[in-house]
Amino acid sequence: MTETPGRITTPHEGRLASTWDDAATIDAPLRLHETTAPPEWMDYNDHMSESCFLLAFGDSADAFFRFIGVDEAYRAAGHSLYTSQTHLHHRQEVALGEPLAMTLQLLDLDRRRLHLYHEMRHGETDALIAMAEQLLVHVDTEAGRSVDMPQDLYAHVSAIRQAHAALPQPAVVGHPIAIRHSN
Protein backbone atom coordinates (compact mmCIF):
# COMPACT_ATOMS: atom_id res chain seq x y z
CA MET A 1 0.00 0.00 0.00
CA THR A 2 1.11 3.57 -0.56
CA GLU A 3 2.48 5.20 2.54
CA THR A 4 1.48 8.79 3.18
CA PRO A 5 4.39 10.37 5.03
CA GLY A 6 3.68 11.30 8.63
CA ARG A 7 0.14 10.00 8.85
CA ILE A 8 -1.14 7.96 11.79
CA THR A 9 -0.55 4.22 11.49
CA THR A 10 -1.35 1.35 13.82
CA PRO A 11 1.08 -1.44 14.71
CA HIS A 12 -1.41 -3.98 13.33
CA GLU A 13 -1.91 -2.21 10.01
CA GLY A 14 -1.57 -4.51 7.00
CA ARG A 15 -1.86 -7.66 9.13
CA LEU A 16 -4.46 -10.04 7.71
CA ALA A 17 -7.51 -10.78 9.81
CA SER A 18 -7.14 -14.02 11.73
CA THR A 19 -9.05 -17.07 10.59
CA TRP A 20 -12.00 -17.50 12.92
CA ASP A 21 -12.05 -20.76 14.84
CA ASP A 22 -15.52 -21.67 16.15
CA ALA A 23 -14.01 -24.14 18.61
CA ALA A 24 -11.47 -21.76 20.16
CA THR A 25 -11.99 -20.40 23.67
CA ILE A 26 -12.58 -16.65 23.67
CA ASP A 27 -10.71 -14.71 26.36
CA ALA A 28 -12.86 -12.68 28.73
CA PRO A 29 -11.83 -9.92 28.50
CA LEU A 30 -9.84 -10.04 25.26
CA ARG A 31 -6.12 -9.24 25.54
CA LEU A 32 -5.02 -8.35 22.04
CA HIS A 33 -2.61 -5.46 22.40
CA GLU A 34 0.42 -4.51 24.49
CA THR A 35 2.79 -1.65 23.95
CA THR A 36 5.49 0.47 25.56
CA ALA A 37 4.89 4.22 25.80
CA PRO A 38 7.17 5.68 23.08
CA PRO A 39 8.94 9.09 23.17
CA GLU A 40 6.59 10.62 20.60
CA TRP A 41 3.64 10.14 22.98
CA MET A 42 5.20 12.29 25.72
CA ASP A 43 4.22 15.92 26.33
CA TYR A 44 6.39 18.70 27.79
CA ASN A 45 5.86 17.24 31.29
CA ASP A 46 7.24 13.87 30.15
CA HIS A 47 3.82 12.34 30.64
CA MET A 48 1.76 10.67 27.95
CA SER A 49 -0.46 13.20 26.09
CA GLU A 50 -4.21 12.78 26.39
CA SER A 51 -4.76 12.01 22.71
CA CYS A 52 -2.16 9.22 22.87
CA PHE A 53 -4.32 7.27 25.32
CA LEU A 54 -6.85 7.23 22.52
CA LEU A 55 -4.17 6.11 20.04
CA ALA A 56 -3.35 3.17 22.32
CA PHE A 57 -7.05 2.24 22.71
CA GLY A 58 -7.41 2.64 18.94
CA ASP A 59 -4.53 0.23 18.36
CA SER A 60 -6.26 -2.30 20.63
CA ALA A 61 -9.51 -1.76 18.69
CA ASP A 62 -7.61 -2.36 15.44
CA ALA A 63 -6.30 -5.67 16.84
CA PHE A 64 -9.92 -6.50 17.77
CA PHE A 65 -11.06 -5.70 14.21
CA ARG A 66 -8.53 -8.16 12.82
CA PHE A 67 -9.61 -10.72 15.41
CA ILE A 68 -13.25 -10.57 14.21
CA GLY A 69 -12.40 -10.33 10.48
CA VAL A 70 -12.17 -6.63 9.62
CA ASP A 71 -8.89 -5.88 7.85
CA GLU A 72 -7.73 -3.89 4.79
CA ALA A 73 -9.44 -6.32 2.38
CA TYR A 74 -12.72 -6.04 4.30
CA ARG A 75 -12.54 -2.24 4.18
CA ALA A 76 -11.52 -2.21 0.51
CA ALA A 77 -14.72 -4.17 -0.22
CA GLY A 78 -16.71 -1.19 1.03
CA HIS A 79 -17.48 -1.69 4.73
CA SER A 80 -15.86 -0.62 7.95
CA LEU A 81 -16.47 -0.03 11.65
CA TYR A 82 -16.52 3.66 12.53
CA THR A 83 -16.28 5.09 16.02
CA SER A 84 -19.39 7.00 16.92
CA GLN A 85 -18.50 7.96 20.50
CA THR A 86 -15.59 7.65 22.91
CA HIS A 87 -15.57 8.38 26.62
CA LEU A 88 -12.12 8.36 28.21
CA HIS A 89 -11.38 8.13 31.93
CA HIS A 90 -7.89 8.98 33.17
CA ARG A 91 -6.73 7.50 36.46
CA GLN A 92 -2.93 7.68 36.33
CA GLU A 93 -0.17 9.33 34.36
CA VAL A 94 2.06 7.30 32.05
CA ALA A 95 5.82 7.88 31.83
CA LEU A 96 8.18 7.14 28.96
CA GLY A 97 8.85 3.45 28.45
CA GLU A 98 6.11 2.15 30.75
CA PRO A 99 4.68 -1.19 29.64
CA LEU A 100 0.95 -0.93 28.83
CA ALA A 101 -1.43 -3.87 28.56
CA MET A 102 -4.88 -3.39 27.07
CA THR A 103 -8.05 -5.38 27.65
CA LEU A 104 -11.27 -5.22 25.66
CA GLN A 105 -14.77 -6.21 26.75
CA LEU A 106 -17.78 -6.36 24.44
CA LEU A 107 -20.62 -4.92 26.54
CA ASP A 108 -23.47 -5.04 24.06
CA LEU A 109 -24.28 -5.27 20.38
CA ASP A 110 -26.99 -5.27 17.77
CA ARG A 111 -26.81 -5.91 14.01
CA ARG A 112 -25.02 -2.60 13.40
CA ARG A 113 -23.49 -1.44 16.66
CA LEU A 114 -20.87 -2.55 19.14
CA HIS A 115 -20.52 -1.15 22.65
CA LEU A 116 -16.95 -1.68 23.87
CA TYR A 117 -15.11 -1.14 27.14
CA HIS A 118 -11.31 -0.92 27.20
CA GLU A 119 -8.90 -0.87 30.10
CA MET A 120 -5.26 0.18 30.02
CA ARG A 121 -3.22 -1.37 32.81
CA HIS A 122 0.43 -1.24 33.75
CA GLY A 123 2.11 -4.24 32.12
CA GLU A 124 3.94 -5.26 35.31
CA THR A 125 1.99 -3.95 38.31
CA ASP A 126 -1.46 -4.36 36.66
CA ALA A 127 -2.42 -0.92 38.07
CA LEU A 128 -5.44 0.58 36.29
CA ILE A 129 -4.28 3.59 34.24
CA ALA A 130 -7.21 4.52 32.01
CA MET A 131 -10.52 3.27 30.64
CA ALA A 132 -12.44 3.95 27.46
CA GLU A 133 -16.05 3.27 26.57
CA GLN A 134 -16.78 3.27 22.84
CA LEU A 135 -19.72 2.93 20.51
CA LEU A 136 -18.85 1.61 17.04
CA VAL A 137 -21.10 1.51 14.00
CA HIS A 138 -20.83 -0.80 10.99
CA VAL A 139 -20.98 1.37 7.86
CA ASP A 140 -21.21 1.16 4.11
CA THR A 141 -18.31 3.50 3.38
CA GLU A 142 -19.44 4.34 -0.16
CA ALA A 143 -23.01 5.20 0.83
CA GLY A 144 -21.81 6.80 4.08
CA ARG A 145 -24.51 5.19 6.21
CA SER A 146 -24.85 2.41 8.76
CA VAL A 147 -25.71 -1.08 7.54
CA ASP A 148 -26.12 -4.50 9.17
CA MET A 149 -23.00 -6.59 9.63
CA PRO A 150 -22.69 -9.56 7.31
CA GLN A 151 -23.74 -12.86 8.91
CA ASP A 152 -20.22 -14.21 9.59
CA LEU A 153 -19.02 -10.99 11.23
CA TYR A 154 -22.19 -10.81 13.32
CA ALA A 155 -21.67 -14.45 14.37
CA HIS A 156 -18.11 -13.65 15.54
CA VAL A 157 -19.10 -10.65 17.65
CA SER A 158 -22.12 -12.56 19.03
CA ALA A 159 -19.80 -15.36 20.16
CA ILE A 160 -17.56 -12.79 21.87
CA ARG A 161 -20.55 -11.19 23.58
CA GLN A 162 -21.60 -14.60 24.86
CA ALA A 163 -18.09 -15.23 26.19
CA HIS A 164 -18.15 -11.81 27.89
CA ALA A 165 -21.68 -12.09 29.31
CA ALA A 166 -20.43 -13.19 32.72
CA LEU A 167 -17.98 -10.31 33.13
CA PRO A 168 -19.13 -7.66 35.60
CA GLN A 169 -20.46 -4.38 34.20
CA PRO A 170 -17.66 -1.81 34.67
CA ALA A 171 -18.58 0.92 37.16
CA VAL A 172 -17.92 3.85 34.80
CA VAL A 173 -20.10 2.56 31.96
CA GLY A 174 -23.14 4.62 31.12
CA HIS A 175 -22.16 7.55 33.33
CA PRO A 176 -22.07 10.96 31.70
CA ILE A 177 -19.41 13.53 32.53
CA ALA A 178 -20.50 15.65 35.48
CA ILE A 179 -19.23 17.55 38.47
CA ARG A 180 -20.67 15.40 41.23
CA HIS A 181 -21.26 17.60 44.24
CA SER A 182 -20.73 15.95 47.57
CA ASN A 183 -22.65 18.55 49.58
Partner: protein
Protein backbone atom coordinates in the same frame (compact mmCIF):
# COMPACT_ATOMS: atom_id res chain seq x y z
CA UNK B 1 -16.96 40.81 31.87
CA UNK B 2 -16.35 38.04 29.30
CA UNK B 3 -18.46 37.73 26.13
CA UNK B 4 -21.87 36.14 26.45
CA UNK B 5 -21.07 33.97 23.41
CA UNK B 6 -19.26 30.66 23.12
CA UNK B 7 -15.46 30.98 23.11
CA UNK B 8 -14.22 30.76 19.52
CA UNK B 9 -10.50 31.58 19.43
CA UNK B 10 -9.46 28.24 17.92
CA UNK B 11 -8.88 28.14 14.17
CA UNK B 12 -6.47 25.77 12.42
CA UNK B 13 -5.93 23.79 9.23
CA UNK B 14 -6.10 19.99 9.45
CA UNK B 15 -2.51 18.69 9.66
CA UNK B 16 -1.42 15.75 7.47
CA UNK B 17 0.00 13.92 10.50
CA UNK B 18 -3.50 13.79 12.03
CA UNK B 19 -4.91 11.64 9.22
CA UNK B 20 -5.06 7.84 9.06
CA UNK B 21 -5.38 5.18 6.36
CA UNK B 22 -8.83 6.47 5.41
CA UNK B 23 -7.37 9.88 4.61
CA UNK B 24 -9.63 11.20 7.36
CA UNK B 25 -8.96 12.72 10.73
CA UNK B 26 -8.10 9.80 13.04
CA UNK B 27 -10.23 9.17 16.16
CA UNK B 28 -7.36 10.20 18.41
CA UNK B 29 -6.76 13.37 16.39
CA UNK B 30 -10.20 14.70 17.34
CA UNK B 31 -8.87 14.55 20.90
CA UNK B 32 -5.81 16.57 19.81
CA UNK B 33 -8.05 19.22 18.22
CA UNK B 34 -10.34 19.35 21.24
CA UNK B 35 -7.38 19.68 23.60
CA UNK B 36 -5.88 22.50 21.53
CA UNK B 37 -9.17 24.39 21.44
CA UNK B 38 -9.66 23.97 25.20
CA UNK B 39 -6.07 25.00 25.90
CA UNK B 40 -6.84 28.41 24.38
CA UNK B 41 -9.75 28.87 26.74
CA UNK B 42 -7.64 27.74 29.71
CA UNK B 43 -5.00 30.26 28.61
CA UNK B 44 -7.69 32.95 28.54
CA UNK B 45 -8.53 32.03 32.15
CA UNK B 46 -4.84 32.20 33.10
CA UNK B 47 -4.70 28.45 33.70
CA UNK B 48 -2.33 27.24 30.96
CA UNK B 49 1.45 26.67 30.63
CA UNK B 50 2.53 30.00 32.19
CA UNK B 51 0.29 29.31 35.21
CA UNK B 52 1.86 25.90 35.68
CA UNK B 53 5.30 27.57 35.76
CA UNK B 54 4.29 30.34 38.15
CA UNK B 55 1.96 28.41 40.48
CA UNK B 56 3.11 24.78 40.32
CA UNK B 57 -0.46 23.77 39.56
CA UNK B 58 -2.26 22.73 36.43
CA UNK B 59 -5.58 21.58 34.98
CA UNK B 60 -5.56 17.80 34.50
CA UNK B 61 -8.05 16.06 32.20
CA UNK B 62 -9.82 13.25 34.02
CA UNK B 63 -12.58 12.53 31.52
CA UNK B 64 -13.19 13.21 27.84
CA UNK B 65 -16.31 12.31 25.86
CA UNK B 66 -16.16 12.64 22.07
CA UNK B 67 -19.09 12.22 19.69
CA UNK B 68 -17.97 11.80 16.09
CA UNK B 69 -20.47 13.31 13.66
CA UNK B 70 -18.67 13.78 10.33
CA UNK B 71 -15.46 12.83 8.60
CA UNK B 72 -12.77 15.49 8.32
CA UNK B 73 -10.26 15.62 5.46
CA UNK B 74 -6.91 17.24 4.66
CA UNK B 75 -7.01 20.94 3.94
CA UNK B 76 -10.18 21.67 5.90
CA UNK B 77 -10.24 24.50 8.42
CA UNK B 78 -11.16 23.56 11.97
CA UNK B 79 -12.90 25.90 14.38
CA UNK B 80 -14.50 25.43 17.80
CA UNK B 81 -17.29 26.91 19.88
CA UNK B 82 -16.48 26.25 23.54
CA UNK B 83 -18.74 26.69 26.55
CA UNK B 84 -17.84 26.58 30.23
CA UNK B 85 -20.63 24.30 31.39
CA UNK B 86 -19.93 23.96 35.07
CA UNK B 87 -17.25 24.77 37.63
CA UNK B 88 -16.48 24.68 41.33
CA UNK B 89 -13.32 25.40 43.37
CA UNK B 90 -11.40 22.45 41.96
CA UNK B 91 -13.22 21.34 38.84
CA UNK B 92 -14.01 22.70 35.41
CA UNK B 93 -16.24 21.23 32.75
CA UNK B 94 -15.93 22.41 29.14
CA UNK B 95 -17.98 21.49 26.07
CA UNK B 96 -17.02 22.22 22.47
CA UNK B 97 -18.61 21.94 19.10
CA UNK B 98 -15.86 21.25 16.56
CA UNK B 99 -16.45 22.43 13.00
CA UNK B 100 -14.67 21.58 9.73
CA UNK B 101 -15.25 24.28 7.10
CA UNK B 102 -18.25 25.38 9.12
CA UNK B 103 -19.88 21.92 9.30
CA UNK B 104 -20.33 20.36 12.75
CA UNK B 105 -17.87 17.43 12.78
CA UNK B 106 -17.77 16.43 16.45
CA UNK B 107 -18.65 17.44 19.96
CA UNK B 108 -16.28 17.03 22.88
CA UNK B 109 -16.68 17.42 26.59
CA UNK B 110 -13.91 17.41 29.19
CA UNK B 111 -13.73 17.37 32.95
CA UNK B 112 -10.61 18.99 34.42
CA UNK B 113 -9.23 18.87 37.95
CA UNK B 114 -7.04 21.61 39.39
CA UNK B 115 -3.97 19.74 40.63
CA UNK B 116 -0.96 20.78 42.68
CA UNK B 117 1.65 19.18 40.43
CA UNK B 118 4.27 18.68 43.16
CA UNK B 119 1.87 17.20 45.72
CA UNK B 120 -0.05 15.30 43.03
CA UNK B 121 -3.46 16.12 44.50
CA UNK B 122 -6.38 18.44 43.80
CA UNK B 123 -6.35 21.87 45.42
CA UNK B 124 -8.75 24.85 45.21
CA UNK B 125 -8.11 27.48 42.55
CA UNK B 126 -6.49 30.70 43.80
CA UNK B 127 -9.03 33.54 44.29
CA UNK B 128 -8.04 35.55 41.21
CA UNK B 129 -8.39 32.53 38.91
CA UNK B 130 -11.63 31.50 40.60
CA UNK B 131 -13.02 34.98 39.88
CA UNK B 132 -12.19 34.57 36.17
CA UNK B 133 -13.73 31.11 36.06
CA UNK B 134 -16.89 32.36 37.83
CA UNK B 135 -17.18 35.34 35.46
CA UNK B 136 -16.95 33.11 32.40
CA UNK B 137 -19.39 30.58 33.87
CA UNK B 138 -21.89 33.40 34.53
CA UNK B 139 -21.37 34.78 31.00
CA UNK B 140 -22.04 31.32 29.53
CA UNK B 141 -24.96 30.50 31.85
CA UNK B 142 -27.55 31.77 29.35
CA UNK B 143 -26.12 29.88 26.36
CA UNK B 144 -28.21 27.01 25.07
CA UNK B 145 -27.10 23.63 26.42
CA UNK B 146 -26.85 20.86 23.80
CA UNK B 147 -29.35 18.03 24.26
CA UNK B 148 -26.61 15.39 24.60
CA UNK B 149 -24.98 17.07 27.61
CA UNK B 150 -25.19 14.83 30.62
CA UNK B 151 -25.90 11.70 28.61
CA UNK B 152 -23.66 8.65 28.59
CA UNK B 153 -22.24 6.76 25.61
CA UNK B 154 -24.90 5.12 23.47
CA UNK B 155 -27.75 7.22 24.83
CA UNK B 156 -29.53 9.34 22.23
CA UNK B 157 -30.83 12.79 23.12
Amino acid sequence: MPDRTAFGAYREQVRPEWLDYNGHLNDASYAIVLTRAHELLLEDLGLSAAYRESHGASMFTVEMHLRYLAEVSAGQTLTAATTLVEADRKRLRLHSELYADGVLAATGECLYLHVDTAAGRTVPLPDDRQARVDALRDAHAELARPAHLGLGVGVRP
